[in-house]
């Protein structure tokens, strides 16, 4: 008989240790805080799900969540189509390719807080090129006081910063399409739209899924740039979940509610990513079912 042992499990030990140190243990401390209360002096007592109930019922959380959802929705609605359009317009070969790629990569190389600072200055009415320029041509623009202006500035900044990522991903998908598909489409008399709809879009679907997930997660967790530009204002108009969370945890030192909120925040992101993923891969799943599991 074959001797069975489970010693092979030791091989995954290093990974387990790493994951434990980097993710599981910090997460568990958050879980720990979320079910306890403290009055300092390292004294804690059990409060159960009280913080969770409080957060879920609080209007402040609802508003921040709605703001964040709206922000992500706008970001995706602008960056994904714009990214695809730019990728389609980029040259496929020749000297223009590297120029375009470098131009596209540039915003991605700038640190978050620098991006925030650039736009903070750029939008200032007194000295900023954008703010002053708009004021000169008669726009009543002021992102520190006007809610719409603040949102417009943040969205413009994010589009400027991150559309490149969508472009690069889509571009990588587009150049991987063999030339013969375009030739067949020309033979079949396909219109430009039909080529996009039936060749390009299906072929870039997978990278597009990654782009959507990345842009959703990043925009849903956005912190640094709005913190630098608007600081959450005017009022609470741009106080997204992350900003709210930091205010609660660091500003007010309410560790319990902040921990509960982090966990809810985390679960919301997880849930939404799952929803995106399921919707966008549903047609593939259908197909593999029909063809008997293989594809």
């Amino acid at each position: 008989m074959k001797v069975q042992n489970n010693r092979a499990w030791f091989l995954v030990l290093p990974v387990l240790v790493l994951v434990a140190l980097s993710a599981v243990i910090p997460l568990m401390t958050v879980v720990n805080y979320s079910v306890q209360d403290t009055f300092g002096n390292n004294e804690f007592f059990w409060v159960g799900t009280e913080w969770f109930q409080e957060i879920l019922a609080s209007e402040r959380f609802h508003n921040a969540l709605l703001r964040t959802l709206l922000f992500s929705a706008l970001i995706l609605a602008i960056e994904i189509p714009l990214g695809i359009l730019i990728a389609l317009a980029m040259p496929k070969k020749g000297a223009g390719v590297s120029v375009c790629l470098v131009l596209m990569a540039l915003p991605l190389l700038i640190p978050w807080n620098v991006v925030g600072t650039i736009w903070q200055v750029f939008g200032r009415v007194d000295i900023g090129l954008l703010g002053h320029g708009l004021a000169e041509i008669g726009f009543d623009y002021n992102y520190t006081q006007d809610v719409f202006d603040a949102w417009a500035t943040l969205i413009a900044m994010d589009v400027w910063h991150w559309t490149s990522l969508v472009v690069l991903l889509c571009y990588s998908g587009l150049i991987a399409i063999p030339e013969v598909y375009y030739q067949a489409a020309r033979i079949d008399g396909a219109s430009r739209w039909a080529v996009f709809r039936y060749i390009q879009l299906p072929k870039i679907k997978r990278v597009l899924l990654i782009a959507v997930l990345l842009r959703f997660m990043d925009s849903f967790m956005i912190y640094t740039e709005p913190f630098v530009v608007t600081g959450g204002g005017p009022g609470n108009a741009t106080t997204f979940l992350s900003i709210d969370l930091v205010q609660m945890a660091v500003g007010q030192f309410d560790l319990g509610p902040a921990a509960a909120m982090s966990l809810i925040y985390f679960l919301v992101i997880l849930l939404l990513c799952w929803v995106f993923y399921t919707i966008m891969t549903s047609s593939d799943a259908e197909e593999s079912k029909r063809s008997g599991g293989g594809s």
């Binding site: 067949a184 008399g189 299906p202």
Partner: protein, 359 residues
């Protein structure tokens, strides 16, 4: 359906700094009859795909005109030319079902819905895909995908010609025969003008009525399988067609005979020796091995391919292949004799035809 004429077609590919100095296709003049099945045969890089793309309109030739039924279509798009083309790698539209794939070229041409349905249904039956009509095309195997590529041409009943660019490359060997047979059947039934590009001589010879052999951008011979086999117009054709190819051996000319290694071989052609380089071509099938008389052969290897033996060897340093029928013994000191009526003479690689003196 249409006849296809190529008027002084030549093509140079565009490079970074203008036109490439090398011609992918050298100037050629061709007329291909309506309803014919032609094969463009040649090694990789001989320009056959370039020529096919020029006919379909995917490529605009740098020189010359393309005519369909005497109408100049050089400036027409592939769509306007109404050509169907099947590519080396099957092209299907992943997100569509089989039936939708077949309907796609018709929908693009804004046909009436009922008309589309009728034609698609007919094409599905013709290709034997009716059971899979509503399956996503993506999940099919390569040969069914290739049938769809073909089907997108067949649904358009008015196509001028169907062009194939090595369509069986990715198909399993045992399905190749089947697909080729179906293609022949479709050709017989509908009499489309078909042009079939391949580097596989068996494919070319079984598919086409006329085989066009291309070499380094030029058409070197057009003919039936038999003509290509018996009278290769160029030493390349002789070597390319047949397995193994024709033996091409250096020779001298002396009073209407070829001298090869001191042996006089009577020629069908009358030739005046001049400064040209002469060679004689003899098929391995037309060389006899015996023990008695002839040129001695130094055997280097013998391959048994089942129905016959292929003997490789040397006659005074010249490589020669001989096909020996099964059951015929190979003597100890083998001698070879050429069947002189099967010998072709070549001057600077081109066949010297009978009754024509070399010029």
């Amino acid at each position: 359906m249409a006849s296809i004429q190529l008027h002084n077609i030549a093509h140079q590919y565009q490079t970074g700094s203008g036109l490439s100095s090398e011609y992918a296709v050298n100037t050629l003049q061709q007329t291909w009859a309506d309803g014919g099945a032609y094969a463009l045969l040649g090694p990789s890089g001989c320009g056959k795909t370039t020529l096919l793309n020029i006919i379909s309109g995917l490529l605009k030739p740098s020189e010359g005109r393309v005519l369909f039924d005497d109408v100049d279509v050089t400036d027409y798009s592939p769509e306007q030319r109404n050509i169907a083309q099947v590519f080396q790698f099957p092209v299907v539209y992943d997100s569509m079902t089989v039936a939708e794939n077949l309907a796609f070229p018709l929908r693009n041409r804004k046909l009436h819905k009922n008309e589309i349905e009728t034609r698609v249904a007919a094409a599905l039956i013709m290709l034997g895909l009716d059971a899979k009509a509503n399956v996503r095309a993506k999940s099919l195997n390569a040969d069914d995908k290739q049938k769809i590529s073909l089907g997108r041409g067949l649904v358009r009943t008015d196509v001028k010609a169907i062009l194939f660019d090595e369509p069986l490359t990715v198909i399993d060997p045992h399905l190749k025969w089947q697909l080729r047979t179906e293609l022949k059947k479709i050709h017989q039934q509908f009499q489309h003008t078909m042009i079939y590009v391949t580097h596989d001589q068996t494919e070319a010879l079984t598919f086409a009525d006329k085989v066009i052999v291309m070499y380094e951008g030029s058409v070197v011979q057009i003919g039936t399988g038999q003509e290509l086999f018996e009278k290769p117009e160029h030493t390349f054709v002789g070597k390319f067609i047949g397995s193994p190819g024709m033996n091409v051996l250096p020779c001298q000319i002396d009073e209407g005979s070829a001298i090869f290694c001191g042996n006089k071989i009577a020629l069908q052609q009358s030739v005046n020796a001049s400064g040209e380089r002469f060679e004689l071509g003899i098929r391995p099938e037309h060389i006899l091995i015996s023990a008695d008389s002839g040129m001695s052969l130094e055997i280097s290897s013998i391959n048994d391919v089942g129905k016959h033996l292929i003997v490789h060897g040397k006659v005074e340093g010249n490589e020669i292949s001989v096909i020996v029928k099964e059951g015929v013994g190979i003597p100890q000191n083998p001698k070879v004799n050429f069947q002189s009526e099967k010998v072709n003479l070549y001057a600077n690689d081109y066949r010297v035809s009978s009754g024509r003196g070399s010029s």
